[in-house]
Symmetry: C2
Subunit: 355 residues, 2 copies
């Protein structure tokens, strides 16, 4: 009679405890609260962990009866959705599907108030890991998940030290630098910036690229304004402030397409032609940016690639390959400048439409 | 000692078999292949089913060890997403969360090729039911799911008879009728329509409302054109055909916002002012419709309400209340006309922006 195939040997908390001659609680303490364990015991347990190749981030999984093959993804409640994140979600769903995983959507508020929703999904063993988006400075989720050895990866940094968990993000500074280079090449020498108030990691990064590129071109101090929120009307208000300066900028680099579209509205009000009289560049490449009547030069985020990379980072933690020790893995992808009529002296797309 | 609360009595295939004194297979045959069962046996089993109140659509669920409390939702692969459906998905996720359910996203191609993805989720007992969108004429999913007694409901009709399963949809004809009424009130008497080619249920419905409203106003035959696909360039091509007629329309009712935005591009090319020279009305109220530079009058779909209703229809089938016998439940919701500058002689929103 044939023997059943041997099961691959799994190193569990229990086998570490048995090999070290201590209780499971002691092993758990060594991992999670080492100051509670006497030095001699800690060293003994750590030696066994190394010897057996026990990986603490398998803790949560070894307690499970089965893998769910599902990744949790939180959508913010009461929102009409964020078009960029919806496109990211499509990319995540597809990449997960290619690797045999589904995406579980749930709804939770941002910040600490959202953590119970994550805890519930873990307690019910509904998901194997999480994909995060909508990350912000001081976001509590990364540390909370890392403390619990839950596999996850984020679209977006936490912009905090120490970093917890892997992430994939777009190089905002490289994007706005490309925008300034493009505008400088078109002859602009007064290039303003419209951002958000300081303190948002994404906004500060995009602002830094504009600032450094202007300095690199020797343009001297350039004007900037902060939009209250990321709405068209906030972009319009900020654009009016810059255009009302004694020496107004001839080009505006904007922190987002929504802000840039607000600028275009102000140009229309004042009879100024986008591209010819004042150039405008956005960031995000929303579907609306390509529409006639908008035709906005902008920086496109490689959302398909970002989705694949983020899913890959989570699944690496679920697979057999242990993640490399040390700093959590991350990848910064470069956005690409899409030039449209709003930053070129001749309305290119108009000509293309009407040959 | 207190007694544990009594479990609600569940009528299962097994209890029907026991009460009827037959095997489980025989009960299953009565339900699924009645011609294999002798008439006398069939009548006896059917009497027990009625007496015990056994509901065949519980068959799939009674075989499960536990309910997953998850609803499956398919997103089309290789798409950047459809903004309308993404907003619907947010509404579904929230309504499901309020009732203790999560949404499982999966990726499958349209038509018969997508059915194996549904079958897999059922075989693995991953979901309790499905929410469908992206329905089309001849969509095989509704009948396939209904045959298997799988709880589901759809955003959108199948536009086929007989109907399978519940659905919620928007009254497209009422929407385009409102558009014509609004344009007639503004003084327009040549009101054209740009639709899709005949055969799409949604497009035909929206066209019918325009046609009937023009007749009701005694306008006589009005010009129309079909856009090849739902892209801006297709709308532009159709608009050129109508505007090149010897007696061109002074107003255009469009089957979608994308088509309407294509019309706006053609007006800009020709130096015609939207609202003043030619009025344009879209359908969908995409986020872009409200932007300066577009400012499109359109019909807004109540996506929050649609999401709640669709989730309600699925959960009714999972709850204790059996769905009423007869025609599957459905609800048709009325879209609301949002009037912007593209259909009014004075640019309202411009004035509002710049008081």
């Amino acid at each position: 009679m044939a023997q059943p195939p041997e099961q691959p040997r799994t190193v569990t908390l229990t086998s570490v405890a048995a090999a070290a001659g201590v209780s499971r609680q002691t092993v758990s303490n060594v991992l999670n609260a080492p100051d509670r364990v006497r030095a001699a015991t800690r060293e003994k347990v750590e030696a066994v962990i190394r010897e057996l190749g026990y990986r603490p981030n398998r803790l949560a999984r070894s307690l499970r009866t089965r893998a769910s093959r599902m990744l949790g993804y939180c959508v913010q409640p009461r929102g009409d959705g964020n078009v960029v994140l919806d496109r990211f979600l499509h990319a995540v769903t597809e990449s997960a599907a290619e690797r045999g995983y589904h995406v579980l959507l749930f709804s939770a508020p941002p910040g600490d108030a959202g953590l119970p929703a994550y805890a519930d999904l873990l307690a019910q063993q509904t998901v194997d890991g999480f994909v995060l988006s909508d990350t912000f400075m001081g976001d509590p989720r990364q540390e909370w998940l890392a403390e619990r050895d839950v596999p996850f990866a984020a679209f977006g940094r936490s912009w905090s030290e120490p970093e917890h968990g892997g992430w994939v993000d777009v190089d905002g500074a490289a994007g706005t630098r490309d925008a300034v280079d493009h505008l400088h090449e078109q002859g602009h020498r007064r290039i303003g910036f419209i951002g958000w108030r300081p303190g948002s990691g994404v906004g500060d990064d995009r602002r830094a690229g504009w600032e450094r590129a202007c300095a690199a071109h020797g343009l001297g101090p350039q004007p900037s304004a902060a939009a209250e929120n990321n709405e068209v009307r906030d972009g319009a208000a900020a654009a009016r402030r810059l255009l009302d300066l004694p020496e107004p900028p001839t080009a505006l680099v904007c922190v987002s397409d929504m802000i840039a579209i607000g600028c275009l509205g102000v140009l229309a009000e004042r009879g100024l032609r986008p591209g010819r009289d004042v150039a405008v560049v956005g960031f995000d490449d929303l579907p609306a940016a390509a529409l006639p009547g908008i035709d906005l030069t902008t920086l496109s985020q490689p959302l398909g690639e970002i989705g694949r990379e983020v899913v890959g980072l989570v699944l690496d933690q679920l697979g057999d390959r242990a993640p490399a020790p040390g700093r959590p893995p991350h990848r910064v992808l470069r956005p690409s400048l899409v030039v449209r009529a709003s930053s070129t002296p001749f309305p290119r797309s108009q000509e293309a439409r009407n040959p």
